[in-house]
Amino acid sequence: MNLHEYQAKELFARHGLPVLPGQVATTPEEARNIATSLGDTVVLKAQVLVGGRGKAGGVKLARGAEEAYHAARAILGLKIQDLPVRKVLVARAAEIARELYLSIVLDRAAQLPLVMLSAEGGVEIEEVARVSPEKIVRRHVSLDGLRPYQARSLFRPLLADGSQVSQAADILLRLWAVFRDGDCTLAEINPLAVTPEGKLVALDAKVTLDDNAEFRHRDWNLWRDPEDETPGARLARERGLSYVKLDGDIGCVVNGAGLAMATMDLVKHYGGEPANFLDIGGSSSPDKVTAALKIITSDSRVRVILFNIFGGITRCDDVARGIVQSLEQSPLAVPLVIRLTGTNEDLARKILAERGLSATTSMDEGVRAAIAKAQEVFA
């Protein structure tokens, strides 16, 4: 799960990281009130979970409450990369003398956390990483974490001032605590600003949480905004299905993530476009199949639905029952192509045949049939 900036800053503040005071607003009026209480110049930042907010006009400075009201109105009307902006963070603005970059990320290849820092932080950090990777310092961290002297030595080449080195080291150690105790796979501060007075402050915050660790963080649920999810995605999460919407017209229901990806690829290979990734999981009950059909049919672009089931732990008859059960509840408006192989395949075929449905055994055949059906619908 990715956190919004305002949520990540809450998490940072809890760990004693220096962030500037601010609050999130959903209306221009709220933004005006927050700006009034903050006094000074404020910065308003669109809270959407995509990059490039500044370039899209989602970040504005405002002097005073009235300016904040108008800035919030402009930002709350925006769509950034197709996402409507529903929240805006209103925070005290800071003067910036320098912008650094600091992050901790899981390095999968090394199986260790990796600290990355750079003297050239700010919006162009990806460009810096591409053009002059030597300007980004990388240092793996043992699972026991960093010692203060190690943190200081990382920053000493970047910061001339001793007090700033101490502040930065303290920030890194606290960011480590956020990363480890918070079960993050990414904790990033960009920019880590140095003010003209020589104070370091986290002006932005980006955090990715490890979804698998949710069982030991009850508060994470409060961060999940139902409106950030499409109805399909929400239903999928609630029923324990993995679902990713794509742009095509061939809906796919598959058991297992690898097979689901391979099915999408095969659709593309034979000239079709997959509408989604959907993994109904290992031990799938008829109910999961019903939920899967509901999710897929909520996408109006879908012209055909393809089941690709390799029965192992998943029993083909369970899937067949789920299909029959959903058809009884609500008939499908689009054709259905079914591929079944493996555990209890014969029983599944019998269940389907009673409803006048048939199933192929080959994945290639199933995919090709689905593409043909989609084209028929199109014609």
Partner: protein
Amino acid sequence: MSILIDKGTRLLVQGITGRDGGFHTRQMLDYGTKVVAGVTPGRGGEKIHGVPVFDSVAEAMAATRANTSMIVVPAPFAADAIFEAADAGVGLIVCITEGIPVRDALAVVHDIAALRKSPDSGRPARGRPRLIGPNCPGLISPGLSKVGILPGQICKPGSVGVVSRSGTLTYEVVHQLSQSGLGQSTCLGVGGDPVIGTTFVDTLALFEDDSETDAIVLIGEIGGTDEEEAAQFIKRRVRKPVVAFIAGQTAPPGKRMGHAGAIVAGGTGQASEKIAAFRAVGVPVARVPSEIPGLVGELLERRRGRRASARPKSRHAGRSLAASRPARAAGPKRTTAKRGTAARRGGRRTATRRSSR
């Protein structure tokens, strides 16, 4: 020979009293796996499908001389179960459980790596444990033993080693191989998580050193760089033919595709890079799963032809294709497999590198 598990495998199941634990214990017993013990704290003294249940792994080990453990406990307890198995001296630990936090997986993987380096470092364990998974389907040596949840009926004894990050996609490929007459030495799922105990590279080394594996199928997917590392390793060290397949070519960046590890992040982990990495070292990459059997058959044919003409006295010479290979139980190696050696040997590379060209 297979890798890691064979007739000498003596399995204990951690989480045997759970729904999945009981179900798969039954399946494994039916396949012929020697399931000698189960462990569930607080349930010692019970029996599941005739298998005695113990309160701790140490007790189970003392009573049954198990050498392999399969873990099917819920995710919050899985890391502890792995630690317990490693500390009790289990040689091969196969963690099926999905949903283990990365922080826990890191702790476990580093602990096991430390034990492998210095097994006698004051710890109770004396073995060199190997961890497979987490979030994996386990492994099967067709006709010999199955540790995990792979459906046994789709496999066929033979000489193709299969290694994969996936579950059902592996079954799909294995099924197609079997249908084409290409049996398998061992099929192993390394797991779909970003942090796993045994990687493609580890498994490739084992297959390369296994005298009864003649070709290797590697099934990768988007996310991470394990496939790129595997390609480099193949170039350096693998003489046996390898065929690869990469799932997720149509996956959008930044989205997790089911597996915790299947995500293209920050520009790395793309299918196209992985495919290019394999092709650059001469490993053919199947465009679709159904191409895999054909590619494997071709490479085996070429390899056998070459070997037969170059080394007519070789013990492999003239051996027929995997398709018509006699049942492996009849082979001399089967019966001489020492009890538990495969699992105990763990990751130590066998010293006998055969010149296999």
